[in-house]
Subunit: 344 residues, 4 copies
């Protein structure tokens, strides 16, 4: 069986493991106060073009989302999110458990628009009974989104403008950032993102690390006392250097981007085969997740050879599925799948 079901089936890029072995007996301070974390922060800030941002390393995405949101908001404030946003659907109520409502907005492509945000702001602040409702204070977006779509620089600029005008924090979840930054057609850089958002993170778990997310806090207001929050939410890794070593390896010579590009290349092979056969895509993703709408019979034929996620029933004979490539996908596996699709 060849697994295309998700992007965290394997361990880490071998260079990361090598570095863990090499550094294993170094004695360092705990909790991220070590030279590896320091160097990883520097490397990341260099790519962000902002030496004044704060960088923290956390273990996972849900942990990062809940820690950022619980830290940023007062109790009566909520975060606007696409209905399909990870915080709205797949975090078991982590945000609500920290006391905050996720204010969901409809979205066909997993993205929010500046116009939606402006309308949501008005709907609240122009209503006389506003104190009876949750106050929108943050906009949560993902890049890529849950369905692999990307913001353009224009779209993100417009979102950023409305957020600054309306005094809303713009928070970008970048669990799959590496696949977004290197996707065909993407026009956003880390520098743009650091300029346009207030806080964002660069996902390691799904892009070559054993685990880990690098959180970048740009807005000074959001920096205050943040380390307390990491500890309080159970996210402060005793041997913080493990995170430093991984991000150091990913960012010292562009490995992070290489891995992203590799997965996108494998995904393109699969997408092109589908398109060649005339299969429609459930959504237009240029990144490592591909959502073709396939005949149920083909899926039946594939079921022992490939693993994938079932996404949505489209009609009686067709199902949208997700094929997920990763930093670790072998190109020959993608080619095999493409061949089988074409041959069906």
């Amino acid at each position: 069986m060849i697994r295309f079901n998700c992007d965290y089936n394997e361990g880490a890029h071998p260079r990361i493991l090598e570095r863990l072995v090499e550094t294993n007996f170094e004695q360092t301070a705990g909790y991220g106060e070590d030279p590896h974390c320091d160097r990883a922060k520097e490397l990341i800030l260099k790519d962000c073009g902002n030496p004044n941002a704060d960088v923290y390393f956390l273990v996972g995405g849900t942990q990062t989302n809940l820690t950022v949101i619980a830290s940023a908001l007062r109790p009566h404030q909520g975060a606007l999110s696409a209905e399909s946003g990870h915080i709205n659907v797949h975090e078991s109520g982590a945000i609500e458990a920290s006391g905050h409502k996720v204010l969901s907005l409809p979205s066909a492509d997993g993205k929010l628009t500046a116009a939606q945000v402006e309308a949501a702001w008005r709907a609240h602040f122009e209503d006389e009974t506003q104190i009876h409702m949750v106050q929108p204070k943050m906009v949560y977006i993902s890049h890529p989104t849950e369905i692999g779509t990307l913001y353009t620089k224009d779209e993100l600029t417009a979102l950023s403008e409305v957020c600054r005008k309306r005094n809303l924090y713009l928070f970008m979840d970048g669990a799959r950032m590496g696949y977004g930054l290197t996707a065909p057609g993407n026009d956003l850089t880390l520098e743009d993102i650091a300029r346009l958002t207030d806080v964002f993170y660069i996902g390691g778990t799904k892009v070559g690390a054993l685990f880990g997310e690098a959180l970048v806090i740009v807005n000074d207001q959001l920096k205050v006392d943040f380390p307390y929050m990491i500890k309080q939410r159970g996210g402060l890794l005793a041997k913080g250097r493990l995170l430093g070593i991984q991000f150091e390896t990913l960012f010292e010579d562009g490995l992070y981007y290489e891995l992203g590009a590799h997965a996108n290349k494998a995904a393109t092979i699969i997408r092109e085969a589908c398109e060649q056969k005339g299969y429609k895509m459930f959504c237009a993703s240029p990144t490592n997740q591909q959502f073709p709408i396939l005949p149920n019979e083909m899926l039946k034929a594939f079921q022992d050879k490939y693993s994938y996620a079932t996404w949505a029933k489209v009609d009686d004979d067709h199902t949208a599925v997700r094929f997920c490539t990763s930093w670790c996908t072998k190109l020959e596996d993608a080619e095999q799948l493409a061949k089988d699709i074409l041959a069906f």
Copy 2:
């Protein structure tokens, strides 16, 4: 500089790293649903002598404490803890952030007694105004405690009895369990602990793993829907197998206990030197943490050679300090320190 300041200065036991390298390209399911986690659970349950307990692997201690307590208690209930308990002092309010009061009780040696628990229960349930106060529902203890002391089997049995009589959950934090189980004079086994408590964990972070705590849930009531809680609190590791592989390695042939015994041996070397010179101990720890009361002049002389934690000022000329050994301490380093103490 030789570091005795804490027990998480280095990476992991080399066999753990070897296993991570060996298994790196295996494709497995995520979130702890993989064969390594399965095998690690089996090994642990065998040592616990209880095939029916549930085992979950979490990344860190604070995360484990807050997840267990938030899951076990209703909103009006709190956890009794020694004043010096980790949840009461060093978790940045993690328990309160989940809505629960830590009901602290005085303790000179870091332990709670059955009599204290009974008295606390009575103070609540025999008071007419009980509904105006937080209801005690859990007893939180550590083994070893924050200051390295241990419960005897008699003490733990008495605690267990009062908890069962009074319908209180008994929760044991075992962040340093390996050092406790192998300490000279310890008469508790994992089997005893699994029999006498409702829930406990076996710490990996401080005993040879890169990170990780193995939570064992014995009481059926506490098992219900626990995986949701791990996810909600941000503790569900995507590549859960990383935890499985580590605990598999620690428990397949007794490595965990070897590492514990090693650290205790190193600690004994240090303690004996102190005792030989007539220095008193701040508390009587048979485990990897030693708290001698030393002359300030000696500490001054040592400050560039050894790192340690300052614990308490005892008088104008003496300070209690903590020397911490670990699975990774070289015996010759402990012997060097002993020699320097004796020679001072």
Copy 3:
């Protein structure tokens, strides 16, 4: 100006004030442990036909909702609610502040159907990734709903059945219960409601009292330690008798139902005038809230004479508004409004 903007513009029915004056110097125990509360509970339980339910008196609706939900649910559980439900829109995130997600479902008429609840249950429990999502555990409904509509006995029976089958709590918010129970066409009694739900409340604030909601807990599981919850959430009135006296007065000889019927009568006068003129209703409410769609010109003409709430813009020339009658509305005021509508 004649106020039809809401149903809490005045104080209380005069008999309530008389009773407060008469009893003012009685010395009683606090916190609801007084003879007036005892008697009010008895009277209510008699109407509910269930001597074994627990009754508690709270001051307001949001307080009651948040206290019930925070008490009933474990941290990973949420409450299903119509999108327009009070807890989803107009409680400033009170439910989320207690840690729980409101799982909103679409509803054109403010009601939930048994089929929706069953589908929501399946969507969760038949999904393999269920532990990543909030678990539905309660169904929150209002009777009357936010837009004045009512459940039929058949509908409530179906909801009750699915809740029992799926182990969900059924919670009915009865902030306007008096107007529902006495509405033309209503076929539900307090006895039915006590039989079909797990917990519900009978609103006083909007139906003749100065303030107060009578919470009836039918399900034994929900009774455990509930008084702690009231205290913890700030809802335990020191002079609890004030609530007892009010509900005693409302329930000792049917005053509660009289007041409900009176308001509905006034509302009918207004509705009939609208219908006679051919104005459509935004929703079909048989209770004290009426939502006619009126020409903007009429509204302009009325604006200094009547107060009302603007509900929704329907088209460029028409707006849905809410006229709210109450226990205190003078029939001649309703008739005046009807006359003006007819004359326009």
Copy 4:
């Protein structure tokens, strides 16, 4: 039986009931946006000598405490309180339920000193591991305290200075404020309190009202969005005017102070009888609560005639009890008790 067990045994001062009756059919806006609330605010601000403070009316003390603290603090921050403080003992964990630790400090007389606060601040901010601990950000005090003692102007000034120096909010719980302001020897005025604290409240429930606390927010930082918090915590009374009318009555011509002085006078009668007989007081309270240490035999003799609260067992033959007078205590009842004490 004559009740001295608490200060909320009866309804309200008759002038308050009269005003409720007179105003009953006025139609006003809800939620505290009515002319009575406006006037009551003005009257209170005049007494506070600060026209710029914000005033809100809440129903009860626990509700007020939890709303203020939840609004003021970020998640990692806690409130310093005397061990005996109401928020630490008698609010069923309301503060923790909002996510915050109560940082308790020992106190023999129910008060905190400036030196204690400074020491607590240093203990946190001078500790390298501060981010592992709850950050003190507020100082919670009561005036009078739980045991009837009072702060002097010097003591409050010193507390205020350390709070401003260390950037801590000073919050005064004034549930029994009326009894404090009018006590013999008290040298604090509302004007002083408004100058020296950041936020405080003036209790109505225990001082002549049916219910209600007037919260005064002096510090601009604490004013932001406070109404949302009242709503979210279930404290926004629909018919807010009921609170306005009560405080209007209490503050328009000094009734509040009269009622306070009356209770203190009654308490003095009781205290003087005890002192004349040589009975010691458990604590030196000049306010409406008196805590004499009395022979158990006397208490046995009194048990059918007087109600009181048992406070503490002092020795085998003596018990400290609490006699509580109030705005409603008849002087002849206090004199009768005094006579019986003297005659025993």
